[in-house]
């Protein structure tokens, strides 16, 4: 594997694929925090040149984290189709980029080659793609999944209703659900982040949302985003869960910090397939986000974009209904400002889609980041253009429990109108029946939460 390059007479020498991968990234505070970033702008581009010339076989033959040492690496390796890999192993990363962007290559061709790609190859090509490259390539990929309802169809934009409450008050959660539904949001999932991580409390929220969904015949699914072990206890005690949730990391050590392992996820998978309330077959909801491995000191010197790709490699194993990158939640030490958040949002969405995952994005920021609501509106338009499966919706973008801002119900409604996108089909029919939507547009009664009293 070549690791040295001379550009216009200046020579750049890299020690390893790990170093090339890290230095080829767009500037991110997280890579700087890890001390693996390019020393200057030209070194960054030099690394990118080298990376573009490497073959997919170079990447597979030089594992950043060997399968013997890490179970996420093993999951990714086991997922590779050797015949398809053999047919593309001599492609350079540049050739992969140009293949993805060529006009003859459609969803079908991409679905075929993805089986020969590892998460590291997907990370590599992402690093040499511009923002508009990421949008165009992702927009070719359609990933449809089904829980109680089907989402992800072309021209559809779903939303998660995120009706969190600062002390899990059931009436308060309900009130925010009513607001979401009245704006046509909630087709991806009605998902609550609980404050109290106990089985009793999680069960109470699960059963409240399930009753509400049944009462109004809403074509959607419920989920309470507690730790997976808490959800398992709640389900065993009679909690009605359509989806099982868990945050993922891209290394075994990172997952240990989350209190999970492949063994535990396998066990949870069996439980939800057996005791979950949804039709399926897709019954998982995963969340990811660049920087979580570094934050748990479980990154092995690997850059945060590559680690994020590895989360998707792990997620694939469980055929999830939805995967969501919580792109700006983690804070300024990983993504410092809006430029970095926007870039990461487009990278994550593209990488997830190239893995064949039903990607959504929590377009968000915290108050100690250099970003504001305008930046989120910008990213939301870019993602909708890229064909994102769903976006997170919060009442006026302000999550009064998690203390950060996302997109508002209004924003999701605006994106649909602006870009001529519709809610998920079954949910749209329900909205029409409720009189909230007509011909893809909100009616005069939309925005009235008392419709559900």
């Amino acid at each position: 594997m070549k690791t040295t390059i001379t550009l216009m007479g200046k020579t750049y020498q890299f020690k390893s694929l790990k170093e090339i991968m890290a230095k080829a990234n767009e500037e991110k505070s997280g890579d700087q925090l890890a001390g693996i970033h390019a020393q200057d702008a030209q070194e960054r581009i030099a690394a990118r040149h080298v990376l573009s010339e490497l073959t997919l076989a170079d990447i597979r033959n030089n594992p950043l984290l060997p399968p013997e040492e890490d179970e996420v690496s093993r999951v990714i390796e086991e997922g590779v189709n050797e015949k398809i890999y053999a047919s593309i192993r001599n492609w350079t990363v540049a050739e992969l980029r140009e293949y993805l962007l060529s006009p003859n290559v459609t969803n079908n061709e991409i679905a075929h080659i993805r089986r020969g790609l590892t998460s590291e190859m997907i990370a590599a090509v992402t690093k040499i793609m511009t923002n508009l490259d990421l949008i165009q390539a992702a927009s070719k990929i359609t990933v449809e999944t089904r829980c109680n309802t089907t989402i992800g169809q072309k021209g559809r934009l779903a939303g998660r209703a995120q009706p969190n409450h600062p002390n899990d008050n059931l009436q308060g959660i309900k009130a925010a659900i009513f607001e979401a539904l009245s704006y046509g949001v909630g087709d991806a999932v009605i998902g609550i982040n609980p404050v109290i991580d106990t089985a009793d409390s999680v069960k109470a929220i699960l059963n409240m949302t399930k009753e509400l969904i049944e009462k109004w015949n809403i074509p959607t699914q419920n989920c309470v985003l507690a730790h997976v072990t808490t959800q398992m206890r709640a389900i065993k005690q009679g909690g009605a869960a359509d989806l099982l949730f868990q945050s993922l990391a891209g290394t075994e050590l990172g997952n240990k910090a989350f209190g999970i392992s492949v063994e535990l996820l396998d066990e949870a998978n069996e439980l939800i397939l057996k005791e979950g309330t949804a039709a399926g077959p897709n019954v998982w909801y995963f969340e990811t986000g660049q920087g979580s491995e570094l934050s748990a000191d479980a990154h092995h010197g690997i850059d945060q974009l590559t680690l994020e790709a590895r989360c998707y490699g792990l997620a694939k194993r469980y055929k999830p209904f939805i995967v969501n990158t919580v792109v700006g939640f983690i804070g300024p030490e990983y993504l410092y400002n809006s430029k970095q958040v926007i870039r990461a949002g487009l990278e994550d969405h593209f990488m997830g889609k190239l893995h064949g995952l039903p990607m959504g994005v929590d377009v968000c920021y915290t108050n100690h980041m250099k970003a504001d609501q305008n930046d989120m509106e910008n990213l939301a338009v870019l993602l909708a253009a890229a064909g994102v499966n769903f976006l997170i919706g919060v009442a006026m973008a302000d999550d009064c429990m998690l203390n950060y801002q996302s997109l508002s119900f209004h924003d999701i409604a605006t994106l649909r109108e602006l870009l001529h996108m519709r809610p998920a089909p079954e949910f749209e029919r329900w909205l029409e029946k409720m009189g909230i939507m007509e011909n893809g547009r909100l009616t005069s009664i939309a925005g009235d939460p008392t419709l559900f009293l």
Binding site: A175, E179, Y336, N367, A397, D398, C400, M401
Partner: protein, 283 residues
């Protein structure tokens, strides 16, 4: 005093009153012409024809979420947007605040620092907020009881105003709950520029059975004053996140600080009894 005199006095008083009232209203008009006065109600917007008119208030009462705000087309109304921007501005400004020494004195908390240097480095380098300075280690060793059953630590974290707003409520309740649960504490102190994992370093220095860290959360819009209580059984270098138990969202509109303080003792008791914390702890 006859009837006429009384009449005269009443008329005089009435005249004076009227003059005063008209002066007041002139003042008011004068003021209103020159400035706008926004109080909480002035940001309220209304759903024009709700299906259940009394329902909007009912729904708003049960959540601090911004609901029932209405729209123009698919966009929010102007006041709703401006209120969001105002609250964001306040939260941004709150990140840079500092806890007053006088408050820490009230609870006999002495101050030590992490290696955070300054606010900007603090934000970009959380690793520095997890390690105490050499001076801090020395001070703690000199002033604190070693191997206590419960070690209490307070830190500003990402919101100094969370400590300002909640410490007076949570701290006495916490001390009471330790007593109720038959627990004894060591020597409490304040860590400036702390991150959650500074618990591990403190654990190494003092080796408490359990440690509770009261720390400011990153500010949100509804609550720039939200605090978390992180608890860990035998914290030490290498403790992973899932080994910590947390009560988050402690503020007057979330989990009330008095309630949280009263609950912490129960959690710590269970940790000691089960010799575990985090996901392995059964609450």
């Amino acid at each position: 005093m006859n009837q006429a005199d009384i009449q005269q006095i009443v008329e005089k008083v009435m005249m004076e009153l009227q003059t005063r009232i008209s002066q007041q209203s002139e003042d008011k008009i004068d003021k209103d012409e020159k400035s706008f006065h926004y109080t909480a109600v002035d940001w309220l917007t209304h759903v024009p024809n709700p299906k259940f008119p009394e329902g909007i208030d009912e729904l708003r009462k049960v959540t601090p979420a911004r609901i029932g705000v209405w729209r123009t087309g698919t966009r929010p109304l102007t006041k709703t947007i401006l209120k969001l921007q105002l609250d964001h501005a306040a939260a941004v400004d709150a990140v840079s605040g500092e806890v007053l020494d006088s408050l820490l004195k009230e609870f006999n908390l002495f101050t030590v620092e992490t290696c955070y240097e300054n606010k900007e480095v603090y934000l970009k380098r959380p690793d520095k907020g997890r390690v105490l300075t050499e001076e801090a280690v020395k001070t703690i060793q000199e002033r604190c009881v070693k191997k206590p059953q419960v070690q209490i630590v307070v830190s500003d974290g990402l919101s100094a105003s969370a400590i300002e707003a909640n410490l007076r409520d949570i701290y006495p309740a916490l001390l009471d709950s330790l007593e109720v649960n038959g627990l004894t504490q060591g020597t409490p102190f304040f860590v400036k520029g702390g991150r959650v994992a500074c618990m591990d370093h403190i654990g190494e220095i003092l080796q408490p059975e359990v440690l509770v860290l009261l720390i400011g959360e990153r500010p949100g819009l509804v609550s720039a004053n939200s605090m978390s209580a992180y608890m860990c059984y035998r914290p030490r270098k290498g403790t992973v996140e899932s080994e910590r138990t947390v009560i988050s969202n402690i503020h007057s509109g979330g989990t009330h600080p008095v309630e949280a303080g009263a609950y912490i003792g129960t959690v710590l008791r269970k940790m000691i009894d089960q010799k575990a914390s985090g996901v392995r702890l059964e609450l």
